[in-house]
Amino acid sequence: MVKTTVPRDEYMMQGHVACQGCGATIAMRYVLKALGDNTIMTIPACCWAVIPGVWPQHSLKVPLLYTAFEVTGAALSGIEAALKAKGQDDEINVLGFAGDGGTADIGLQALSGMAERGTNALYVMYDNEAYMNTGIQRSGSTPFGAWTTTTPVGKKKEWKTEFKKSVAEIMVAHRIPYVATASIAFPEDLYAKVQKAKSIKGPKFIQIFSSCPTGWKHSPDITVEVARKAVLSHMFPLYEVENGVYKISQKPKPIPVKEYLKLQGRFRYLDEEAIEKIQEHVDREWELLLKKEEFTQSL
């Protein structure tokens, strides 16, 4: 038998209706590989509310509660409470799988509530950096410089003028036992992080960088390459925070952010000045992350 770097079991079925080259499906595939089928999942409005298929179709080997846009955190608390009432809370994993809009913006309150209440569940934010299911509108998680349909650049060059909100850091501030970032380009790391989250009791949060050919305007074949270069350029660092202690998962010698940006149509309007601004921001954030890692080691 050929050795694979991740287990062969699949819990995401074929025939789902995601776009060609969808990063969010790779995220789902590996999250479920790590959690297994003894899991109850909830998904709010987002791409993944459509990907499983139109009624009566289902493309996941776990039970799925579809719910409203802003309530993933509350739904997790509800599922957990019901499992406690049935005495099944120790055996069944509870998973929320939500997009960046449903997490960073409209669902932030319920997520905060779920974390503060100590709900024993894993919240996965698959981050494709805009409201993709409604057709590429900017979210709080859209990076500086990106074209979206609500930051349409135009003659006035009005791309997204604010930097990406760090939901992972917001979750660290909730003092929950486990926060991590992961990427579809590094499935082994993603798998290991979900496995670790599974072993920890309490609220867990993992933000998975999931490239989107449709919204980012790149060809579908480079989905993984784009995600990889986000990590290699320090645009999206991979790290975990266990009980407040930071651990950077990999510290690549950075490639220029330009190498990442130029792959995507959403950044094609950027001038040198804007690219320089992004580079400075990314360098500063990376320094900050290194300091956090250093500073929290003694905790």
């Binding site: 050929v2 991740v6 969808c22 009566p56 074949d221 480079i222 993984v224 390459e225």
Partner: protein
């Protein structure tokens, strides 16, 4: 889950709530494809990177039909599902996958 697709004709055949129980594996998403990945098994090193990154779970690991080959297992593309995104070809470290234009039938 049901073992075959389910096409109700009237409201009387519906479940009381919108509960989904037909596996998506009846969906022929292969019809979306305009370019088709073709594996050159002479080049393939069975690293399974294509399998690993397939967003559609359209690549499976199967016993190598070639007797006495170097690898006992090889990746196999299921064209019923493959949407032709090309990630497999792009990620292949030995360029063993070609993207071939689909022809009209």
């Amino acid at each position: 889950m049901r073992d075959k697709p389910y096409k109700p004709k009237t409201w009387k055949e519906l479940p009381y709530a919108t509960i989904t129980d037909v596996p998506s594996t009846f969906n022929n998403t292969g019809t979306w494809r305009t370019v088709k990945p073709v594996i050159d098994y002479d080049k393939c090193i069975s690293c399974m990177i294509c399998w690993k990154f397939c967003p559609d779970v359209a690549i499976s690991i199967v016993p190598n039909p070639k007797e006495g080959a170097k690898f006992d297992e090889v990746p196999k593309i299921d064209y019923f599902f493959c949407k032709g995104c090309g990630i497999c070809a792009h990620e292949c470290p030995v360029k063993a996958i070609d993207m071939v234009q689909e022809e009209s039938k």
